[in-house]
Symmetry: D2
Subunit: 301 residues, 4 copies
């Protein structure tokens, strides 16, 4: 009839895994949101309803918990690599797996100047992320690691301008030499290989991103994002490519003149919607092929 | 230095446009969430900070409001087509525009059996969507329309089984002949052309999706989604391709035996997380090329 | 030491109970969010850590599920009454119980003009609510039922003015004879007794609220809320008191004059924050005492 | 007719005020969510629609911005006191005002070991709060300050038990000597006067709450909350009363035995719903009267 099954995948989303590790009386916690998704020849599962190639999503959840027991439980990248490799290697119908892990950070509670051995406080809203994709085929196994961070909320109270832009009949925005620039940053970077010290790399890249945001005089949010990506790739040769996505959280100077008050960029209204939304990719001209690294689900949701 | 700008785009997200149209004392309302995003050669905006090719996102917002005044204001597809075409045709540096519109439905308030002329009540959480992409290049202008719906919450209290699936050492799920199946459906479909009666098509496709969900005995959520897509494409030749994305909102039968009560699929716990997540594409083997229809932003967010 | 335990209570919040009832092949679903909270002399549980008076919140959850099996499962008021009475009567240390139930409405899927026997679609975001409080003491048992609705989103595109208000040096708002008025209504009403046909009363009160919102020319949101409460109490003698809480969801007329366009209340920006927030109580001068009907938790959260 | 207007109030909710203060090149930011609500004789505004006693909520918003310019802009308590006093003193029909302020904390971006003068990163999800109520009447002016914190997410990986609780026929929960205890704490405390160093007090109280949570071996969440309140009131005589509200965010030990794995409290499932919900008040037997300190809006929402 000419109607055919196209790309498809399935998995278990948002399994909330919390792992406690003890070193004597000193505890570590590792707080994760894990999503797994499998690809393969699942045509029968859809078209005839035969589920014999389908490993239940419930099983994927169980596996996420079991690997949280048996794994090293230090870096989310290693955990995701172990899980994705398992699905591809050990489950016959699966030829591709994507494992996404969000990690929530905790600090120890400080009691009279000493960090407590087993009491913790959530550090902030920033989330460390990784997306690991493993594929196998006639050319062997391929692995991609895309790590990053999201919900890193940043603000500069000066050092940001926006001038010389294109105008058309619908343009009313005035130019500005000094504005508040604020965003909730999502940054994802593809590593060129898996031979990386994940936590060291993450901390270093995060530090470069923050310092560049702070130090570069911004000519536009696009300009700042480019400079951030450029600085990160310059300092971190292990990164092949970085994608930055940033809402421009507008802070409008409030007009106080009706009340006989001046407002030299002191009082702002922080608006919710609409917001600018900027997407920038910074790469290397000699980077290895991205392959399936950035493939997310087939349906745009 | 080998570090280069890759794909990028920018726009204004979530402009909340409400349009009231009067026919005598009878009012219509049209309640939209509009996001626009532009592509083109914006290298200088990033690398040197020269913004002369950048139409501000504030201008895009103004344009969305202005076109809500001057347009026909009936179908979101036409509105998005007008906006996207404007950006590509009238703004020199822009060679691609994507306009996404979500429409919130309202019913008239019923007063003593008659629909009120200007008082409305939000119908439900289901949202009608469209994503229109217009690109221009040496091969001329190309247009793609991907319409759909999201947050359509469905439940079957029987007529759903899950058996004969693959098991491995991590599998504990029992087979079932009768379960609750519930989801919050996202469906998006690419039209083969723009010669479509948008509202009629939308209503027809929605109706087929719902009837198929209800009537097909489900062998798995994958099976149900395939049948829904198959039925929609069979009935609607104007649709080239459909992508369905559906969380499996698990309803677990509560064990009441400790209280000397039977529970023959009567009392369920509706769980939040984790959830299964199924993505299925249903297409035609002779469909026109999807081109940029499904391109969303460059950064996986 | 002079430091003392004050008021306290505890319970299980947001148990998501879904109940399927079968009449032959015709199914009914009943989709609830249930929160229970107990009061009594729990001093030891706090001060010495002795939990012998504390029925675990896990038990409260189990009880909510069990009563969903054994109860009539038609009106949330009856279900909440049964649960609250059980806790007060059957659990010795408990002398007060508050049971809150939110009900999510579902419609049957329409297939070719007939309602499907076991496939359902969520009706809307509006939620039916009840809060039942049962207390026992030396003066016997007291019962209060406060029912209502929330997240009922309403909009009038005309028939609303705001004039003649107080001005001070901080006032810049112009008067208006014609504006959009929109809100997400929360209404709660205390029944004078428990001798009520709950569903009939709920439907009738909801209908009066909607019709009054639609038909009354609004002089202010306060005025509209008063008229809604007045109409409801006039038509429903079983209601002793009603409390209405309504955000004023501002819709601002967009200034299109820079684009040579008029905007006679046709194009609006729907703003998120800030919003007006109006609280109104409408009662009877001869109503029975409210007692503990409106007591929520002790901590303002 | 016997139907009467009861308690009522109105205001502007969630005005998002951001204040930048400069000391040379060193900037401070102060990021607030401000809600104001007024009480008085507003009968005519409701019953006849005469708005001459109603100061528009738009004016309240303007005032919040203006006072962010003219005030000291250091402690939210002082800002809220200034605003509330203004409404009561300067707006004739107003005899009561409640001003609620949430403050979002920011850290300076660290660049190579030095804090940046004007680049900031959001610290965490914890929010500092205050609710100031000012009332005037024949007995003069009364002022109450209730400050606190919310969304302080805490977890203990051990040092928590739950035993010896009441059981009934619906109880299935086993006793435990060692469990994870996690919560998102809301604490509010009423100061006995306004003669307080707000920031010093807030930091001290927060520190005591955290240390007590960490150090006390928990016999139940009720017990921990009592100990936290007791410690805070013991150390801070300026606090008359504290109310703590805490969900018990359940972490369930995952059963790994089907996979031949032990799980000695190492791998947990963090569940979303349902959750325990505990409310505790800790006070002084000689505290000044709470008056209107804890009065929130008249409608339970």
């Amino acid at each position: 009839m000419g109607i055919v099954l196209g790309s498809n995948e399935y998995g278990k989303a948002e399994t909330r895994v919390v792992r406690v590790t003890r070193s004597g009386t000193q505890h570590q916690i590792w707080d994760l949101n894990v999503s797994t998704s499998l690809r393969g020849d699942f045509t029968d599962a859809h078209v005839t309803g035969d589920q014999s190639h389908i490993l239940p999503t419930d099983t994927q959840k169980n596996t996420a918990y079991a690997y949280a027991k048996t794994g090293a439980c230090t870096d989310i990248e290693d955990y995701a690599l172990e899980l994705a490799t398992h699905f591809v290697d050990d489950v016959a119908p699966v030829d591709g797996a994507r494992v996404e892990v969000d990690e929530y950070a905790w600090d120890r509670v400080d009691v009279a100047g000493r960090p407590h051995p087993h009491a913790f406080v959530r550090r902030g809203q920033e989330i460390r992320t990784t997306v690991v994709t493993v594929e196998t085929g006639h050319s062997g196994r391929h692995v991609w690691v895309v790590s990053g961070l999201k919900e890193l909320v940043l603000l500069k109270s000066t050092g940001s301008q926006f001038r010389g832009f294109l105008t058309d009949p619908y343009t009313t925005l005035p130019e500005t030499d000094d504005r508040v620039m604020a965003t909730s940053l999502t940054a994802r970077w593809r590593y060129a290989s898996t031979d990386v010290n994940w936590s060291t790399a993450h901390a270093g890249i995060r530090s470069v991103l923050l310092a560049t945001f702070a130090d570069v005089h911004s000519l536009a949010l696009q300009h700042t994002l480019w400079e951030m990506g450029l600085a990160a790739l310059t300092a971190h040769p292990e990164v092949a490519e970085m994608r930055l996505s940033a809402p421009n959280r507008h802070h409008f100077t409030v007009d106080l003149t009706p009340f006989q008050l001046e407002n030299p960029n002191e009082v702002f209204h922080a608006d919710d919607r609409p917001y600018g939304l900027i997407h920038v990719t910074v790469g290397r001209d000699d980077a290895p092929d991205a392959g399936a690294a950035w493939h997310t689900a087939t349906a745009a949701t």
